[in-house]
């Protein structure tokens, strides 16, 4: 049986497209590849001229050092601070967003005012915040960082969730109210399932914000709750850079975000509200 063939011209265009896509992919993936490779290399291999594309053998001593010296605690700190703060921001923010969307709380302008809080350059407020934190003894504490990241993430969550909630057909909620749910149950059993993809996407972003923040963590931590980005800077020295540690730490720091996005990905693309209401 003959497989139907594409016309030659179309086939050429298709080939070019794949080629283009391949080149771009390589270009973007190369730094990631390089990072991973360095983290497995020995010091000799790292400084080898010409550069070695693959290490002689995969060895984990760079990681071992991080665990042995307790540097990985920074990752744990980041995990705690980022997940707790984004969890709180998501719950509080969604409730606020519901209030804005359904009860018109604050009129037309409150929502805009809230998101405008997010537009302040962090550097403009970091020192006042530092002084306040010193006064209240919040510097270098989990609570301090969690409070700060929650405050910074809330406007974003409110703004995003308000958009998703407005899109939930009002009739779904009204129907549930008539059917016997109270308002809290409606939020839990109707609104949450309806906005789940949006909720997941928003969580990823709030988590990433807290995870990636460097400025606040640098200013507001000392020794106890150093987060992963701050820890990384310790490896850039005046005389030398500890490339092995930098690479291993970066890999460890990338994994949680990588996992979060992979897990959430199916929510990001699912059009769940299809079929709710005939358009």
């Amino acid at each position: 049986m003959r497989v139907s063939k594409l016309p030659a011209r179309k086939a050429r265009i298709l080939a070019l497209r794949y080629l283009g896509a391949g080149v771009v992919t390589l270009l973007f993936l190369f730094p990631v590849y390089w990072l991973f490779m360095i983290s497995f290399k020995t010091p000799d291999e790292i400084y080898h001229v010409p550069p070695l594309w693959i290490p002689g053998q995969i060895q984990f001593s760079n990681y071992y050092v991080l665990f042995k010296d307790g540097d990985v605690l920074a990752i744990l700190n980041s995990l705690i601070v980022a997940s707790v703060s984004s969890g709180i921001a998501i719950v509080l923010g969604t409730l606020c967003a519901y209030s804005l969307a359904r009860f018109g709380t604050g009129g037309e302008n409150l929502a805009m005012w809230i998101i405008s809080q997010r537009m302040i350059p962090p550097i403009a407020v970091v020192f006042p915040i530092f002084l306040i934190y010193v006064y209240f003894g919040l510097v270098d504490s989990y609570f301090g960082l969690i409070l700060l990241y929650t405050a910074f993430n809330l406007p974003y969550v409110i703004w995003m969730m308000r958009g998703y909630i407005v899109d939930v057909p009002l009739e779904l909620e009204e129907s549930a109210l008539v059917d016997g749910l109270n308002r809290w149950e409606v939020i839990w059993k109707v609104v949450f399932p309806m906005v789940r993809p949006g909720l997941m996407a928003t969580s990823v972003f709030t988590f990433a914000f807290a995870w990636n923040d460097f400025l606040f963590a640098l200013v507001l931590t000392r020794t106890e709750v150093i987060t992963f980005p701050v820890m990384l800077t310790h490896y850039f020295g005046g005389q030398s850079n500890f490339w092995a540690k930098i690479a291993a730490m970066s890999v460890l720091g990338t994994l949680p975000i990588f996992v979060a996005v992979s897990v959430m990905q199916r929510y990001l693309v699912r059009g769940i509200s299809l079929g709710a209401v005939k358009g």
């Binding site: 009204e174 129907s175 109210l177 008539v178 059917d179 016997g180 749910l181 209401v277 005939k278």
Partner: protein, 367 residues
Amino acid sequence: MADVKLSGVHKYYGNVHAVRGVDLTITDGEFAVLVGPSGCGKSTLLRTIAGLEDPDSGAIAIGGAVVNDLRPRERNIAMVFQNYALYPYLTVNENIAFGLRARKTPEIEIRKRVSEAAEMLGIGNLLQRYPRQLSGGQRQRVAIGRAIVRKADLFLFDEPLSNLDAQLRDEMRAEIKRLHHEITTTMIYVTHDQIEAMTLADRIVLLRDGKIEQQGAPLELFEQPRTGFVAGFLGSPSINLIPATLKTDGPVAAVVFQSGGELKLPSAKAMSLAGAQGREILVGIRPQHFSRAGGGPLRNGVVSYSAVADLIQPTGTRTFTTIKIGGVDAVAELQAHDVRSHGERIDLAIDLNRVVLIDPVSGVVIA
């Protein structure tokens, strides 16, 4: 099972006075249809009964108890929405069971009632599907199923058929009527479609600008409209309204059209018009009251009229023919083959026994 009593209900949306003092009693087991043009307040009224809106004043009683301060879920009502309001993340089975679960009904009872409802609506084979896998008609059945399993005191329907195509709408209309025969719960149904109102209702409540214009049995409203608005709203094609002047002379009365020509009114109508000589009126003649004159003697109250057929719209069973009467276009509903071609002169008989005469200023029917 319950009756519904509204007294002096007002509702404002900002500056808009959506419901303006509605008094309405719907008896136990009745099928009442709230009908009217968009913006007449019918949906607002229904939502007020459901508790989804609070009235600004007035009382709402269901089953004898005032429910103004009760939340929707405390009123024991079931409601079917225009957009079905099915939960896309739940199966048909779970959608129907939703209200029962919300009320902590035992699982065995839920299963029994869901399967009963599914059987009644012919959706037993769809229970494991999701709403997105259903057609419009099936979704509406599920929405109705979700309401009937609740065994509520009162059913509210908010334009449930307007998203369906014409044929499906006819089918579902019949199903809803049959359903009411089977479960005999009080039902209040909102629609802007006068056919739905006529076919479904025990009683039509016709609303206009937030007030009840007239209420009564469908045929009563159709045949004895109290205002020109009611006469014009019910009936398809709608009633012809022709400006004219009354001419009375003792027991005899006639309408004189502004373009000349007059029609003698039957004596039953003439009696109530004594002393109305020279009064300006609108003559309301329904398209169905025209027929092709057969040549024989005319019944009492039927007059002959000769006209030229302008637009001809055959529907298969009947043919709508536009003619000039009193200088304005009027539609006559004739037999399918009564008219053949544009411009044809036809002799018509007009049954004036059922004519309505309307005061053009107040809109009130005077005879």
